[in-house]
């Protein structure tokens, strides 16, 4: 393949000693040459408005950072007050409740089918985990995460339940059909085995789950999913407040006070400039490495 040959040729010219001192753009290109796709950070924007100048709430529900964008299933419900940022995958019939923050800016977050992330929970994925395993967050199917939890780089199996106001630290794991009692803290790399109830600060074994309790876990997740469906039905996709905003906007445009910004052109110029700088840096580095040899 022409592409791979060209890439490997350039990589040989770079040399391993240069790689670490490269700028982020050059590292990206070098990594692409090696066949690894790095996440792009958000490009400098063409427009900016400080939040202190705003009159109205302007928080978006789903925010992309460069090519880290959330993928949300059609049947999933996200509360309008929740924030889903970065590389987050919400599978079928997932419900994300009020004031939840799913921050996948450093790593991936995947929430499995029919799971629910209840109010004011924060899920964040770190870049690396001290446990040595992947620092991404993987939540299984039919999982109930009760309100006010904090999850960081952990892994939760299917049909589990995380009690209210509990904290799961980096590298911790909950296997299938496990329950964490409310208010407990799961220390890093601690693992809750299948079919057990753990609780406390730090979390310790409490008792085993009975058969009826195991069956109830799936039903509980389904109940929350049904509640979320009701919420979704109550909320209209758009309200009517936009009409006044549009009328004001039209008035400003008519009065000639609007600013015309060639945004596509500016974005293209900006990207071209960054790529030129990166290309120059590579050629300079390649030239330097040649000189050293």
């Amino acid at each position: 393949m022409v592409r791979l040959q060209a890439a490997s040729g350039l990589l040989r010219a770079l040399g391993p000693c240069i790689r670490s001192s490269l700028s982020p753009e050059c590292q990206q290109i070098a990594a692409a040459a090696a066949g690894v796709r790095l996440f792009e950070s958000v490009a400098p924007a063409v427009t900016y408005r400080d939040v202190s100048d705003e009159w109205y709430l302007r928080q978006r529900s789903q925010i992309s950072l460069g090519n880290r964008l959330p993928h949300v299933a059609v049947s999933a419900w996200i509360s309008p007050s929740a924030v889903v940022v970065g590389d987050v995958d919400l599978l079928d019939r997932v419900s994300v409740w009020n004031n939840v923050v799913l921050r996948g800016d450093l790593n991936n977050i995947t929430i499995g089918q029919v799971s629910n992330v209840q109010d004011r929970t924060v899920i964040h994925a770190a870049r690396t985990s001290p446990a040595g395993i992947s620092a991404s967050v993987k939540v299984g199917k039919f999982v109930t995460i009760e309100p006010n939890c904090t999850l960081r780089s952990c892994r939760i199996g299917d049909f589990a339940k995380v009690g209210a106001r509990s904290v799961l630290l980096e590298g911790s794991m909950m296997e299938d059909y496990s329950v964490l009692q409310p208010g407990s803290v799961l220390p890093p790399t601690r693992r809750v085995p299948t079919g057990e109830v753990w609780g406390g600060v730090p979390a310790r074994f409490v008792r085993a789950l009975s058969e009826d309790e195991r069956d109830a876990l799936k039903a509980e997740a389904d109940d929350i999913r049904r509640l979320a469906w009701q919420q979704d039905a109550e909320q209209l996709p758009v309200g009517t407040a936009w009409r006044g905003v549009e009328a004001y906007r039209a008035a400003v445009v008519e009065s000639g006070k609007a600013v015309s910004v060639p945004m596509r052109r500016l974005k293209y110029d900006q990207r071209k400039r960054r790529e030129d700088e990166a290309a120059n840096a590579i050629s300079v580095a390649a030239g330097a490495s040649q000189a050293i040899k």
Binding site: G9, Y48, Y56, S64, L65, V101, V122, H124, K267
Partner: protein, 324 residues
Amino acid sequence: MGPGSGETQYSTGTMPFTVVHLGRHPKPKDLIGKAMYALGGMMRGLGTALDSIGVVVQGPYARHDHLVPNTAWMPFEANADIKPAAGAQQQVPFNPRLRESPALDIVAPLKKGSAGFVAPNAKVIGNVSLGSQVSIWYGAVLRGDINAITVGDKTNIQDNVVVHVARHSLTSAPAGGPKPTVIGSAVTIGHGATLHACTIGDGCLVGMGATLLDGVMLEPGSIVGAGAVVPPGAVVKSGEIWAGAPAKLLRKLSAEEKGFVAASADNYAKLATEHRIENGKLFEEVFLDAAIAEEREWRSLTDIDLHMGIARDDQTQLVLATRG
């Protein structure tokens, strides 16, 4: 300034919101197009009028949609009893449309420099002073209504943290009365923590979900573990780790952990820049970004160059490979 210059960054002034064109809205040129546009416009106007009449007919049971005011940077009624004061005191007319309107003393949050990140759905209210490069993440609440909150440089207050102050205190402090919440520089306050009228020194780490009650004092370089509940009036000395509920001394910090705390503040300051840029984009640019992303995704699914047998030069190949 002007199209194609690409050097200037368009920032907005003090307008309520900026109106920015992505090119002009296309208008029909042919006669039939113009007629249809006019007819459609009349029907839409009729629909709007009908909706307004319907709202009137529904009376007190009508559902009104309002734009939610910005709480990420919100002023509060000023209180002269708060000392030392934080935030910026202002005097505004009660009703700007009245010529002789009584004045209203308000105090607005204050920040140093423009490098900090305040999430749009954070709540920074009243007597709050932020240092430079402070990042307030999504859903955080800094409620400086009855006392002052001061945050030092390069501190990060992560998602869903609640920072509040107290007017009264159970213990009579050496200085007398409740202390304002003072957070030092390079402090990391983990997700979901709750801080109430406490003092945090420089370079501290408050774990996720921790609760710091009234009058707690964290000396510089100390750590409060995740999920800890620190009882009121406790003093965490330098280099100590407290954990548990109620929190007790766990152990001393190692040198590696001290380095980690310092690195954490730096990492978060860098991460905050990305979020600040993305959240500061105007709607039109967000719309444009989404269109670009969709185009890229479509292009990545179909390998046009391979299908067409196009071989590009080395640099272009690499750039296209990066783009995915």
